[in-house]
Symmetry: C2
Subunit: 150 residues, 2 copies
């Protein structure tokens, strides 16, 4: 291992490897973020109206319906959803499980943000982007922190 370091400045940079790993993790989180959003949204639509139509999904996400359909195809490829032509989208068991996990995490993030003083509306908006990058360790810490403040 070439410890070719010359990090002799400011608040100490992490090692190359450590830093690369962090970025790698952030990139991989990003690649699942969209699927998580779709699954959670589909779950919500199913719960609140009994069906999840591609057009509704598209409108909620603010994308063209063709985009939604393409991503739903990816959900199916990954075993998270099922659908038949002109019949709406449904979640597999794996999809439901993911949706539940994501929803829980979302609430926890919003609650944590509000607990530290972020206004409710900002908290909701920010959580949408933040939630996908919160590790289990952080999530556990959030839970403890919230429990401790009633």
């Amino acid at each position: 291992m070439a410890t070719k370091s010359k990090d002799l400045a400011t608040p100490a940079m992490p090692t190359e490897a450590a830093q690369a790993q962090r970025f790698e993790k952030a990139r991989s989180a990003q690649s699942t973020a969209l699927l998580e959003d779709y699954v959670e949204l589909i779950s919500d639509l199913l719960a609140s109206s009994g069906e999840a139509r591609p057009t509704d999904v598209a409108r909620r996400l603010g994308v063209a319906h063709a985009t939604a359909i393409k991503t739903i195809a990816r959900l199916k490829r990954e075993g998270l959803a099922t659908s038949r032509p002109y019949r709406g989208v449904f979640l597999t068991e794996a999809g439901k499980a993911l949706a539940d996990r994501v929803r829980l995490r979302h609430r926890l993030v919003v609650d944590l943000l509000m607990a530290v003083g972020v206004p409710a509306d900002s908290a909701e908006v920010d959580a949408e982007g933040i939630e996908h990058h919160v590790s289990d360790a952080a999530l556990a810490a959030f839970r403890d922190f919230l429990a401790q403040r009633g």
Copy 2:
């Protein structure tokens, strides 16, 4: 169904428009995230060793050097960096300003995470993904919260 008919079980879904806007925001944040990472890293490298070579940037980010070079080209297109062939990368004034903002935000996010009990190493890793999605409002709240706990 006006302002706050929120029951404990199911938090009402937001309106289509509101939700679409949130996702749109998250998507646009994502598109600037990579540039922010590059700019901050380049700034760190310049500060700690006086130069930022594409290969170093690539190694730190954990990507192939060709990928780094391509993204650096984008930084130049966007007026954040300058570089001449075989001569390393430098930041424009805009790039420096962005780097400073990003670095500050990064610290604040890490500190906030640790303040609510997230272990230091998790905090660093999570912050890498989270920071790009933290609004100014949330940032201000973080600052206040941290100030209040000395």
